[in-house]
Protein backbone atom coordinates (compact mmCIF):
# COMPACT_ATOMS: atom_id res chain seq x y z
CA UNK A 1 0.00 0.00 0.00
CA UNK A 2 1.25 3.45 -0.80
CA UNK A 3 -0.13 6.16 1.34
CA UNK A 4 -0.84 9.54 -0.21
CA UNK A 5 2.26 11.37 -1.35
CA UNK A 6 4.51 9.53 1.10
CA UNK A 7 7.18 7.10 0.00
CA UNK A 8 6.02 3.75 -1.32
CA UNK A 9 6.45 0.64 0.79
CA UNK A 10 9.21 -0.55 -1.53
CA UNK A 11 11.06 2.76 -1.05
CA UNK A 12 10.74 2.59 2.72
CA UNK A 13 11.89 -1.03 2.74
CA UNK A 14 14.93 -0.04 0.68
CA UNK A 15 15.72 2.72 3.18
CA UNK A 16 15.48 0.36 6.13
CA UNK A 17 17.64 -2.24 4.42
CA UNK A 18 20.09 0.56 3.63
CA UNK A 19 20.53 1.19 7.35
CA UNK A 20 17.83 3.75 8.11
CA UNK A 21 16.31 1.91 11.03
CA UNK A 22 13.96 4.74 11.96
CA UNK A 23 12.25 4.42 8.58
CA UNK A 24 10.71 1.20 9.84
CA UNK A 25 8.53 3.43 11.99
CA UNK A 26 6.83 4.64 8.81
CA UNK A 27 5.75 1.08 8.03
CA UNK A 28 4.58 0.52 11.59
CA UNK A 29 2.51 3.69 11.47
CA UNK A 30 1.06 2.59 8.15
CA UNK A 31 -0.02 -0.91 9.15
CA UNK A 32 -0.17 -1.03 12.94
CA UNK A 33 -3.88 -0.24 13.24
CA UNK A 34 -4.98 -2.86 10.70
CA UNK A 35 -2.70 -5.54 12.08
CA UNK A 36 -3.87 -4.86 15.63
CA UNK A 37 -7.48 -4.99 14.56
CA UNK A 38 -6.89 -8.27 12.76
CA UNK A 39 -5.03 -9.80 15.71
CA UNK A 40 -7.64 -8.59 18.18
CA UNK A 41 -10.40 -10.21 16.14
CA UNK A 42 -8.39 -13.42 15.87
CA UNK A 43 -7.35 -13.69 19.50
CA UNK A 44 -10.29 -12.03 21.23
CA UNK A 45 -7.90 -10.18 23.50
CA UNK A 46 -6.33 -6.78 23.00
CA UNK A 47 -3.34 -7.62 25.17
CA UNK A 48 -2.60 -10.83 23.31
CA UNK A 49 -3.11 -8.97 20.02
CA UNK A 50 -0.57 -6.33 21.02
CA UNK A 51 1.94 -9.05 21.83
CA UNK A 52 1.31 -10.87 18.56
CA UNK A 53 1.64 -7.70 16.47
CA UNK A 54 4.75 -6.52 18.32
CA UNK A 55 6.37 -9.91 17.90
CA UNK A 56 5.34 -10.01 14.26
CA UNK A 57 6.71 -6.56 13.47
CA UNK A 58 10.03 -7.26 15.18
CA UNK A 59 10.24 -10.47 13.21
CA UNK A 60 9.38 -8.59 10.03
CA UNK A 61 12.15 -6.09 10.70
CA UNK A 62 14.69 -8.82 11.26
CA UNK A 63 13.70 -10.66 8.11
CA UNK A 64 12.93 -7.66 5.94
CA UNK A 65 15.59 -8.66 3.45
CA UNK A 66 13.67 -11.86 2.79
CA UNK A 67 10.54 -9.98 1.70
CA UNK A 68 10.66 -10.85 -1.95
CA UNK A 69 8.12 -8.30 -3.10
CA UNK A 70 8.24 -5.13 -0.97
CA UNK A 71 5.44 -3.67 -3.06
CA UNK A 72 3.20 -6.28 -1.44
CA UNK A 73 4.52 -5.66 2.02
CA UNK A 74 1.05 -5.44 3.54
CA UNK A 75 0.22 -9.02 2.61
CA UNK A 76 3.59 -10.17 3.88
CA UNK A 77 3.00 -8.45 7.24
CA UNK A 78 -0.44 -10.03 7.55
CA UNK A 79 1.14 -13.40 6.91
CA UNK A 80 3.67 -12.92 9.69
CA UNK A 81 1.10 -11.64 12.18
CA UNK A 82 -1.33 -14.40 11.17
CA UNK A 83 1.35 -16.94 12.06
CA UNK A 84 1.98 -15.23 15.39
CA UNK A 85 -1.74 -15.39 16.10
CA UNK A 86 -1.78 -19.10 15.28
CA UNK A 87 1.09 -19.66 17.67
CA UNK A 88 -0.73 -17.76 20.39
CA UNK A 89 -3.89 -19.78 19.80
CA UNK A 90 -1.99 -23.04 19.75
CA UNK A 91 -0.35 -22.23 23.07
CA UNK A 92 -3.52 -21.20 24.76
CA UNK A 93 -6.17 -23.54 26.06
CA UNK A 94 -9.50 -23.00 24.38
CA UNK A 95 -11.04 -21.92 27.67
CA UNK A 96 -8.70 -18.96 27.77
CA UNK A 97 -9.94 -17.57 24.47
CA UNK A 98 -12.14 -14.85 25.74
CA UNK A 99 -13.01 -11.25 25.46
CA UNK A 100 -13.13 -10.86 29.20
CA UNK A 101 -10.02 -8.72 29.31
CA UNK A 102 -11.82 -6.01 27.41
CA UNK A 103 -15.50 -6.07 28.24
CA UNK A 104 -17.71 -3.13 27.38
CA UNK A 105 -17.31 -0.83 30.32
CA UNK A 106 -20.29 1.13 31.53
CA UNK A 107 -18.90 4.57 32.09
CA UNK A 108 -21.33 6.86 33.89
CA UNK A 109 -20.85 9.44 31.20
CA UNK A 110 -21.92 7.00 28.51
CA UNK A 111 -25.32 7.56 27.16
CA UNK A 112 -27.75 4.79 26.46
CA UNK A 113 -26.96 4.62 22.78
CA UNK A 114 -23.25 4.21 23.43
CA UNK A 115 -23.90 1.42 25.90
CA UNK A 116 -26.17 -0.34 23.48
CA UNK A 117 -23.50 -0.05 20.83
CA UNK A 118 -20.95 -1.57 23.20
CA UNK A 119 -23.32 -4.42 23.98
CA UNK A 120 -23.84 -5.07 20.28
CA UNK A 121 -20.11 -5.09 19.66
CA UNK A 122 -19.60 -7.55 22.52
CA UNK A 123 -22.29 -9.75 20.99
CA UNK A 124 -20.66 -9.67 17.57
CA UNK A 125 -17.20 -10.32 19.03
CA UNK A 126 -18.57 -13.29 20.93
CA UNK A 127 -20.19 -14.65 17.80
CA UNK A 128 -16.93 -14.22 15.91
CA UNK A 129 -15.05 -16.18 18.56
CA UNK A 130 -17.43 -19.11 18.10
CA UNK A 131 -16.01 -19.62 14.61
CA UNK A 132 -13.06 -21.96 14.11
CA UNK A 133 -9.73 -20.08 13.85
CA UNK A 134 -9.54 -20.92 10.14
CA UNK A 135 -12.97 -19.50 9.35
CA UNK A 136 -12.43 -16.52 11.62
CA UNK A 137 -9.14 -15.78 9.89
CA UNK A 138 -10.72 -15.99 6.45
CA UNK A 139 -13.70 -13.83 7.41
CA UNK A 140 -11.64 -11.12 9.10
CA UNK A 141 -9.11 -10.91 6.29
CA UNK A 142 -11.83 -10.74 3.67
CA UNK A 143 -14.41 -8.50 5.25
CA UNK A 144 -12.74 -6.56 8.05
CA UNK A 145 -9.32 -6.06 6.47
CA UNK A 146 -10.62 -5.96 2.93
CA UNK A 147 -8.04 -8.27 1.37
CA UNK A 148 -8.80 -9.84 -1.98
CA UNK A 149 -8.89 -13.61 -2.20
CA UNK A 150 -5.55 -13.48 -4.02
CA UNK A 151 -4.02 -11.45 -1.19
CA UNK A 152 -5.58 -13.78 1.37
CA UNK A 153 -4.05 -16.73 -0.43
CA UNK A 154 -0.63 -15.06 -0.27
CA UNK A 155 -1.12 -14.20 3.41
CA UNK A 156 -2.32 -17.62 4.53
CA UNK A 157 -0.80 -20.03 2.04
CA UNK A 158 -4.24 -21.52 1.44
CA UNK A 159 -5.86 -22.07 -1.95
CA UNK A 160 -8.50 -19.59 -3.06
CA UNK A 161 -11.36 -22.14 -3.27
CA UNK A 162 -10.56 -23.21 0.30
CA UNK A 163 -10.61 -19.61 1.47
CA UNK A 164 -13.87 -18.91 -0.33
CA UNK A 165 -15.49 -21.88 1.31
CA UNK A 166 -14.29 -20.75 4.73
CA UNK A 167 -15.58 -17.23 4.18
CA UNK A 168 -18.95 -18.54 3.01
CA UNK A 169 -19.31 -20.86 5.98
CA UNK A 170 -18.18 -18.09 8.33
CA UNK A 171 -20.81 -15.69 7.00
CA UNK A 172 -23.53 -18.25 7.49
CA UNK A 173 -22.33 -19.26 10.95
CA UNK A 174 -22.05 -15.63 12.07
CA UNK A 175 -25.53 -14.74 10.92
CA UNK A 176 -26.83 -17.89 12.56
CA UNK A 177 -25.02 -17.15 15.83
CA UNK A 178 -26.32 -13.60 15.92
CA UNK A 179 -29.80 -14.88 15.24
CA UNK A 180 -29.53 -17.17 18.27
CA UNK A 181 -28.25 -14.34 20.48
CA UNK A 182 -31.23 -12.16 19.69
Amino acid sequence: MDVGSGPSDAEVVARVLGGDREAFGILIQRYEAGLLRYATRMLGSRDAASDAVAEGLVRAYRHLASCRDPARLRTWLYRIVANRCKSHLARRPRADVSLDDAPPVADPSDNEAALEKAEQLALVERALMTLSPERREAFVLKHVEGLSYEEMSAATGERIPTLKMRVHRAREALLQALEEYR
Binding site: R21, E22, F24, G25, I28, Q29, E32, A33, G34, L36, R37, T40, R41, R46, D47, A49, S50, V53, A54, L57, V58, Y61, R62, N83, K86, S87, L89, A90, R91, R92, P93, R94, A95, Q120, L121, V124, E125, A127, L128, P133, E134, V140, H143, V144, Y149, K164, V167, H168, R171, E172, A173, L174, L175, Q176, L178
Partner: protein, 202 residues
Protein backbone atom coordinates in the same frame (compact mmCIF):
# COMPACT_ATOMS: atom_id res chain seq x y z
CA UNK B 1 -27.91 -23.27 9.49
CA UNK B 2 -28.66 -24.54 6.02
CA UNK B 3 -26.31 -23.29 3.33
CA UNK B 4 -27.59 -20.02 1.95
CA UNK B 5 -28.51 -19.34 -1.62
CA UNK B 6 -25.19 -19.29 -3.53
CA UNK B 7 -26.21 -15.92 -4.96
CA UNK B 8 -25.77 -14.44 -1.48
CA UNK B 9 -22.07 -15.32 -1.47
CA UNK B 10 -21.59 -14.45 -5.12
CA UNK B 11 -22.94 -10.97 -4.45
CA UNK B 12 -20.77 -10.49 -1.37
CA UNK B 13 -17.75 -11.72 -3.32
CA UNK B 14 -18.50 -9.16 -6.02
CA UNK B 15 -19.25 -11.75 -8.67
CA UNK B 16 -22.78 -10.51 -9.24
CA UNK B 17 -24.57 -7.29 -8.34
CA UNK B 18 -26.49 -6.88 -5.10
CA UNK B 19 -29.57 -6.12 -7.14
CA UNK B 20 -29.63 -9.80 -8.14
CA UNK B 21 -30.55 -10.70 -4.56
CA UNK B 22 -34.04 -11.16 -3.24
CA UNK B 23 -35.17 -8.59 -0.63
CA UNK B 24 -34.66 -11.22 2.08
CA UNK B 25 -31.08 -11.97 1.06
CA UNK B 26 -30.39 -8.27 0.73
CA UNK B 27 -31.46 -7.80 4.34
CA UNK B 28 -29.06 -10.56 5.37
CA UNK B 29 -26.29 -8.82 3.45
CA UNK B 30 -27.10 -5.59 5.26
CA UNK B 31 -26.94 -7.40 8.61
CA UNK B 32 -23.53 -8.70 7.69
CA UNK B 33 -22.43 -5.21 6.64
CA UNK B 34 -23.45 -3.91 10.05
CA UNK B 35 -21.45 -6.68 11.74
CA UNK B 36 -18.38 -5.89 9.65
CA UNK B 37 -18.70 -2.19 10.41
CA UNK B 38 -18.60 -2.94 14.13
CA UNK B 39 -15.62 -5.25 13.80
CA UNK B 40 -13.77 -2.77 11.61
CA UNK B 41 -13.42 -0.25 14.42
CA UNK B 42 -9.69 -0.32 15.13
CA UNK B 43 -8.63 -0.94 18.73
CA UNK B 44 -6.30 1.52 20.44
CA UNK B 45 -2.65 1.03 19.55
CA UNK B 46 -1.40 0.25 23.10
CA UNK B 47 2.17 1.33 22.45
CA UNK B 48 3.02 -1.39 19.97
CA UNK B 49 5.09 1.00 17.86
CA UNK B 50 7.22 2.02 20.82
CA UNK B 51 7.81 -1.61 21.78
CA UNK B 52 8.81 -2.57 18.27
CA UNK B 53 11.11 0.40 17.73
CA UNK B 54 12.77 -0.24 21.10
CA UNK B 55 13.36 -3.85 20.07
CA UNK B 56 14.78 -2.98 16.67
CA UNK B 57 16.95 -0.23 18.15
CA UNK B 58 18.68 -2.70 20.41
CA UNK B 59 22.12 -3.25 18.91
CA UNK B 60 22.69 -6.68 17.50
CA UNK B 61 25.03 -8.67 19.75
CA UNK B 62 28.54 -9.33 18.54
CA UNK B 63 29.35 -12.65 16.92
CA UNK B 64 31.19 -14.08 19.98
CA UNK B 65 28.30 -13.02 22.16
CA UNK B 66 25.81 -14.67 19.81
CA UNK B 67 27.93 -17.81 19.86
CA UNK B 68 28.00 -17.77 23.64
CA UNK B 69 24.27 -17.24 23.81
CA UNK B 70 23.80 -20.07 21.32
CA UNK B 71 25.77 -22.35 23.58
CA UNK B 72 24.07 -21.44 26.83
CA UNK B 73 20.49 -20.65 25.83
CA UNK B 74 18.32 -23.73 25.41
CA UNK B 75 15.75 -22.54 22.90
CA UNK B 76 14.16 -24.91 20.48
CA UNK B 77 16.45 -24.24 17.54
CA UNK B 78 19.49 -24.64 19.73
CA UNK B 79 18.23 -27.92 21.00
CA UNK B 80 17.71 -29.32 17.55
CA UNK B 81 21.20 -28.29 16.49
CA UNK B 82 22.98 -29.07 19.73
CA UNK B 83 26.36 -30.77 19.25
CA UNK B 84 26.85 -34.41 19.95
CA UNK B 85 28.38 -33.96 23.37
CA UNK B 86 25.33 -32.22 24.60
CA UNK B 87 23.02 -34.67 22.95
CA UNK B 88 24.81 -37.40 24.82
CA UNK B 89 24.21 -35.49 28.01
CA UNK B 90 20.60 -35.05 27.07
CA UNK B 91 20.30 -38.71 26.17
CA UNK B 92 18.55 -39.07 29.47
CA UNK B 93 15.57 -37.41 27.92
CA UNK B 94 13.17 -40.23 28.08
CA UNK B 95 9.85 -39.93 26.37
CA UNK B 96 8.23 -42.73 28.12
CA UNK B 97 9.17 -45.30 30.64
CA UNK B 98 6.61 -47.85 31.47
CA UNK B 99 7.37 -48.90 34.97
CA UNK B 100 5.20 -51.54 36.50
CA UNK B 101 6.24 -50.02 39.77
CA UNK B 102 4.67 -51.47 42.88
CA UNK B 103 5.17 -48.27 44.85
CA UNK B 104 2.81 -46.41 42.54
CA UNK B 105 0.71 -49.45 41.90
CA UNK B 106 -2.28 -48.61 44.03
CA UNK B 107 -2.90 -45.37 42.17
CA UNK B 108 -2.63 -46.91 38.73
CA UNK B 109 -5.60 -48.15 36.80
CA UNK B 110 -5.40 -50.87 34.18
CA UNK B 111 -5.61 -48.24 31.44
CA UNK B 112 -2.87 -46.01 32.82
CA UNK B 113 0.89 -45.86 32.54
CA UNK B 114 3.76 -43.79 33.80
CA UNK B 115 5.44 -41.24 31.57
CA UNK B 116 8.83 -40.00 32.67
CA UNK B 117 10.04 -36.70 31.28
CA UNK B 118 13.70 -35.75 31.50
CA UNK B 119 15.08 -32.67 29.80
CA UNK B 120 18.23 -30.59 30.10
CA UNK B 121 17.69 -26.84 30.44
CA UNK B 122 20.61 -25.29 32.32
CA UNK B 123 19.72 -21.90 33.75
CA UNK B 124 15.98 -22.39 33.41
CA UNK B 125 13.85 -21.14 36.26
CA UNK B 126 11.07 -23.60 35.58
CA UNK B 127 10.20 -26.36 33.16
CA UNK B 128 6.77 -27.88 32.73
CA UNK B 129 5.16 -30.30 30.38
CA UNK B 130 1.93 -29.43 28.62
CA UNK B 131 -0.04 -31.60 26.32
CA UNK B 132 -3.28 -33.11 25.26
CA UNK B 133 -3.43 -34.83 28.67
CA UNK B 134 -3.63 -31.58 30.66
CA UNK B 135 -5.43 -29.32 28.18
CA UNK B 136 -2.12 -27.62 27.35
CA UNK B 137 -2.14 -25.79 30.67
CA UNK B 138 1.32 -24.70 31.75
CA UNK B 139 2.17 -25.31 35.39
CA UNK B 140 0.00 -28.33 36.07
CA UNK B 141 2.89 -30.79 35.49
CA UNK B 142 6.12 -29.13 36.58
CA UNK B 143 9.51 -30.80 36.16
CA UNK B 144 11.99 -30.62 39.03
CA UNK B 145 15.72 -29.98 39.11
CA UNK B 146 16.49 -30.98 42.69
CA UNK B 147 20.29 -31.05 42.38
CA UNK B 148 20.44 -27.89 40.25
CA UNK B 149 22.42 -29.54 37.49
CA UNK B 150 20.13 -28.30 34.76
CA UNK B 151 18.44 -31.68 34.26
CA UNK B 152 14.72 -31.49 34.93
CA UNK B 153 12.58 -34.52 35.68
CA UNK B 154 8.99 -35.53 36.28
CA UNK B 155 7.15 -38.82 36.35
CA UNK B 156 3.40 -38.70 35.94
CA UNK B 157 0.58 -41.14 35.59
CA UNK B 158 -1.21 -40.69 32.29
CA UNK B 159 -4.02 -42.51 30.53
CA UNK B 160 -2.75 -45.16 28.15
CA UNK B 161 -2.68 -44.03 24.55
CA UNK B 162 -1.05 -41.51 22.27
CA UNK B 163 -0.50 -37.99 23.58
CA UNK B 164 0.90 -34.81 22.06
CA UNK B 165 3.00 -32.56 24.23
CA UNK B 166 5.54 -29.75 24.44
CA UNK B 167 7.87 -28.44 27.13
CA UNK B 168 7.39 -24.94 28.56
CA UNK B 169 10.56 -23.29 29.82
CA UNK B 170 10.33 -20.38 32.26
CA UNK B 171 6.60 -20.27 31.72
CA UNK B 172 6.82 -18.72 28.29
CA UNK B 173 9.04 -20.61 25.89
CA UNK B 174 7.33 -23.58 24.22
CA UNK B 175 9.79 -26.15 22.98
CA UNK B 176 9.24 -29.40 21.14
CA UNK B 177 11.12 -32.18 22.88
CA UNK B 178 14.17 -32.50 20.60
CA UNK B 179 14.55 -36.20 21.24
CA UNK B 180 10.90 -37.13 21.19
CA UNK B 181 11.44 -39.46 18.26
CA UNK B 182 7.96 -38.78 16.95
CA UNK B 183 6.38 -35.50 16.04
CA UNK B 184 3.09 -34.45 14.61
CA UNK B 185 1.99 -31.19 13.04
CA UNK B 186 -0.96 -29.62 14.79
CA UNK B 187 -3.79 -27.61 13.21
CA UNK B 188 -1.66 -24.50 13.21
CA UNK B 189 1.38 -25.93 11.47
CA UNK B 190 3.33 -26.27 14.72
CA UNK B 191 5.23 -29.37 15.62
CA UNK B 192 4.21 -31.23 18.74
CA UNK B 193 6.12 -34.09 20.29
CA UNK B 194 4.34 -37.40 20.56
CA UNK B 195 4.49 -39.97 23.30
CA UNK B 196 2.75 -43.28 23.61
CA UNK B 197 1.80 -44.47 27.06
CA UNK B 198 1.47 -48.21 27.45
CA UNK B 199 -0.93 -49.48 30.08
CA UNK B 200 0.67 -51.03 33.10
CA UNK B 201 0.22 -54.77 33.03
CA UNK B 202 -1.05 -56.25 36.25
Amino acid sequence: MNPMDPKFHQALDGEIGMDALSPELRREAERLDAVVAMLAAAPAAQGVAARVMAAVARPAPSRPRRMWRWLVTPHSLVLRMRPAWSLALAAGILLLAVLPSPQIGPALGAEEGIAQFVARFPGARSVAVVGSFNDWRPGSIPLEDRDHDGVWRAAVVLPAGTHEYMLVVDGERWVADPLAGRYVEDDFGRENSVLIVQPVMH
